[in-house]
Symmetry: C2
Subunit: 478 residues, 2 copies
């Protein structure tokens, strides 16, 4: 295909929208992207550019006259790709996955093509209705209690990220409590969470205006695989109650509080019967979220949130300006998802999730999850088999927390040694892993979740880590 | 091209990611989308389905086994498209535009393909750096004061929507004020806005916990084209100060408050020298936003926000958990946009904006804006030429507010007549317009902004409105 005729040649500019230009350019972009995936292993997984690299390569103002698509592709190859960290590389094991898939990608294309803004039912009924249906499908796959289904008082909604999911339920809980106790009680309302809870909750509290001294971080018990004991939580709550404070939100065991379960990562695995047990207790929860964009083959962003009573969301988040009024909304015959989220506008995100469910089917999604968990088990066994390393916490799902055991002469509990191991592995461009700190210990995190990862990639990653460890321990001995 | 071999046939399932399946399916989707645009005028602009239509058409649980891509395309055509309101149709004149373009679409494709999560610089340096560069480009196109550029203390960032842009600056202002006056002053801090300000500010106040009684809605002056007079604002502020309250945020004339300008829609027009005057006064502002996804050929979502001092954003919105720490961030040598927004995760949205700027160039973007404004002027002239109608407010940009003048016998100020006119026009499926209420009067809104709209579409829309008016006025006379 010769792409130069309509989009580049003859001085004619690309029209804002023209179906034949779109077709021609779209085909060229599909080939570019397929070629990118074909060569994805040839790039350093973690971009190796230095801060400010791109400013040196691009002009400092927008062009007055259009560039050609060819020029743009050249720039993408030469200037953009070197600055990309390749989350879809089979050698990506950092943070949590952000998995793409063919179906998810096709859904993104179609959503971008319709380019609707689905704030109210009327602005594209299919967007709202498909979202309701698909969230019911996934709730059933997860065997969530029936209160979370749209037929009851609850229902599901797609948020951009888990941060937003947590924020909207925190706001719902805050406003429910303030309606009861009066809005000047803000200074008294208390949030409880484990010290292993994601920073998203802390940020949500900051946004919601919760007083920092009213955030109770309950220490997780390392002898219980970093779970919080119910006793520790009850104790914290009793102390606050006797001080006249108002416990109102807990992120993961219930009282008269809003109880939210954040399963952003692990939720996906619970579609497999053998992992469903990790959701035991969800029947006590007011809300539950999992990110389809992490480990469910659905492109970012797609965070699924279910609530047992949608009215609390709507009371906290609805606005009803005149210019958005319409018959269907006024008659209360439809859902307007604008009232379930922070922003007004919203993309047609249910399309990609629907396409993933349709084009893979439940059984293949289960196989996908199981394969990654098996690869993580395999990695865990490799770590255990090398006495220089240790597995720090029992593995659940596809995340292995491990470290290189420091020689006894080291005083920093292995912090520098493990940092250097991570840094040298990541600097090689061959793999990308990340870290965290548990009980003061610097711990390496290896998560299997990229859609192209196979056993050979895990083996190669392990070999690299072993080789780098040998070099580092050799240095230590000198 | 025969699409059936790898993705549909032989019982083999679609692999999570496989570059040749992606290529084949991607080409099929491009053709589907180009064909959609080719036939876009054959669909009712406003979807004519009834609430609950899709539940009747789809199964109530996800399939266990994969479906074929062919089956999916059939379902999209038969079940999804009828429920889509076609924002890209040339006959779409409702709300504000959400314009797609070939370049914007290509940017969405590439962003979906990389599928990175750009919360920190390190997770894809190109995503952060391109965003900084492109926001500087657009700031220069808008001739924003140099304090808003990244080289100064300020800088730009892409938010999902204007709602989020307004929320983050409101939070920044709130926290700046509470740091100064103590966090128990929350009950005293006051927000000022015109009664024409978008409901997004009200919702942002709700989220931020601003007391509802501390939101001062200053009445706009209809003799001044619905602008607020500085006198009215000063008076409201003086009253609050003398009552011991703390004025802290104003959405569009400054005191010692955070001054935000929301130009979500009109900002785009200000890249034309003849419209830049509407930004006069921006040098006094602390923050400014415009939506590239409305009228700037960039697909949804892409809301551009600039601030004069990024530190206030970062102080209000940063978190720094261990698992996200990395050398570049710790050395303060990079921007981590996670600290400038509500969510942690973020898409590579700068790609599409960059591609729009590159593939169209500044002059063509200016022509695009001017063309729409000319079409709106043309529509305004048509309205003026028919004595049965009136233009309600002087037209700025591409929005015409107008109404059908009610016969003197009508008691509701023309509310029902104009509602019926809108309803009959929208129910025809031929055009989609929306409404608002100004000074108690039901007003029709006609916005030109879809990328395919030409003079013939405006003429046809006007003809339809005239014909429906004739029918309605005939009925009234009976």
């Amino acid at each position: 295909m010769d792409g130069s005729t309509t989009s580049n040649g003859g001085g004619g500019w690309m029209r804002p929208m023209d179906e034949e230009q779109l077709r021609e350019c779209g085909h060229r972009m599909v080939d570019f992207i397929a070629d990118y995936y074909k060569s994805i292993e040839t790039y350093p997984v973690l971009s190796q550019v230095q801060p400010g690299y791109l400013k040196e390569l691009l002009p400092d103002s927008a062009p007055n006259q259009p560039d050609t698509l060819d020029a743009l592709f050249d720039d993408i190859r030469e200037k953009i790709v070197p600055g990309v960290t390749h989350w879809q590389s089979p050698n990506y094991f950092a943070y949590y996955p952000s998995n793409s898939s063919t179906a998810g990608f096709l859904g993104e294309m179609l959503s971008a093509a319709f380019n609707i803004v689905g704030f109210s039912w009327i602005t594209s009924p299919a967007a709202t209705e498909l979202e309701v249906i698909v969230l019911d499908w996934v709730a059933k796959m997860l065997k969530l209690p029936s209160e979370f289904l749209s037929a009851a008082l609850g229902g599901g909604v797609i948020q951009g990220t888990a941060s937003e999911a947590i924020l909207v339920v925190l706001l719902s809980a805050r406003d429910r409590t303030l309606r009861k106790h009066g809005k000047k009680s803000l200074e008294k309302i208390v949030v409880y969470a484990s010290d292993q809870t994601h920073s998203a909750l802390k940020k949500a509290c900051q946004i919601a205006g919760i007083f920092p001294e009213n955030i109770r971080i309950v220490k997780a018990d390392c002898s219980m695989n970093y779970a919080v004991t119910p006793g520790a939580v009850s104790e914290a709550i009793s102390i606050d109650l006797s001080a006249g404070l108002i416990p109102f939100f807990i992120c993961a065991t219930a009282h008269d509080m809003w109880f939210h379960i954040d399963a952003a990562y692990a939720g996906s695995a619970c579609i497999c019967p053998e992992y469903r047990k990790y959701l035991n207790g969800v029947e006590e929860a007011d809300s539950f979220n999992m990110n389809a964009h992490k480990w469910f083959l659905t492109n970012f962003d797609c965070s699924l949130l279910w609530v047992k009573d949608r009215n609390y969301l709507i009371q906290a988040l609805s606005t009803n300006p005149e210019f958005l009024k319409n018959k269907a909304s006024q008659e209360n015959s439809v859902i307007d998802f604008k009232d379930w989220q922070i922003p007004l506008g919203r993309r047609f995100r249910s399309l990609k999730l629907w396409m993933v469910l349709r084009l893979y089917g439940v059984e293949n999604l289960q196989s996908y999850i199981r394969k990654h968990i098996q690869l993580a088990q395999h990695f865990e066994q490799l770590v255990i088999s090398d006495p220089r390393f240790e597995v720090v916490t029992p593995r659940n799902f596809s995340l292995v927390c491990f470290c290189l055991v420091p020689p006894t002469c080291e005083v920093d509990n292995g912090h520098k040694l493990n940092y250097d191991l991570m840094d040298s592995a990541n600097s090689s461009g061959k793999i990308f892993i990340s870290h965290t700190v548990l009980s003061g210990k610097f711990v390496l995190r290896f998560v299997v979740g990229a859609p192209l990862t196979e056993e050979q990639h895990v083996d190669a990653a392990w070999k690299l880590l072993q080789d780098e460890a040998t070099k580092l321990l050799g240095n230590v001995v000198q």
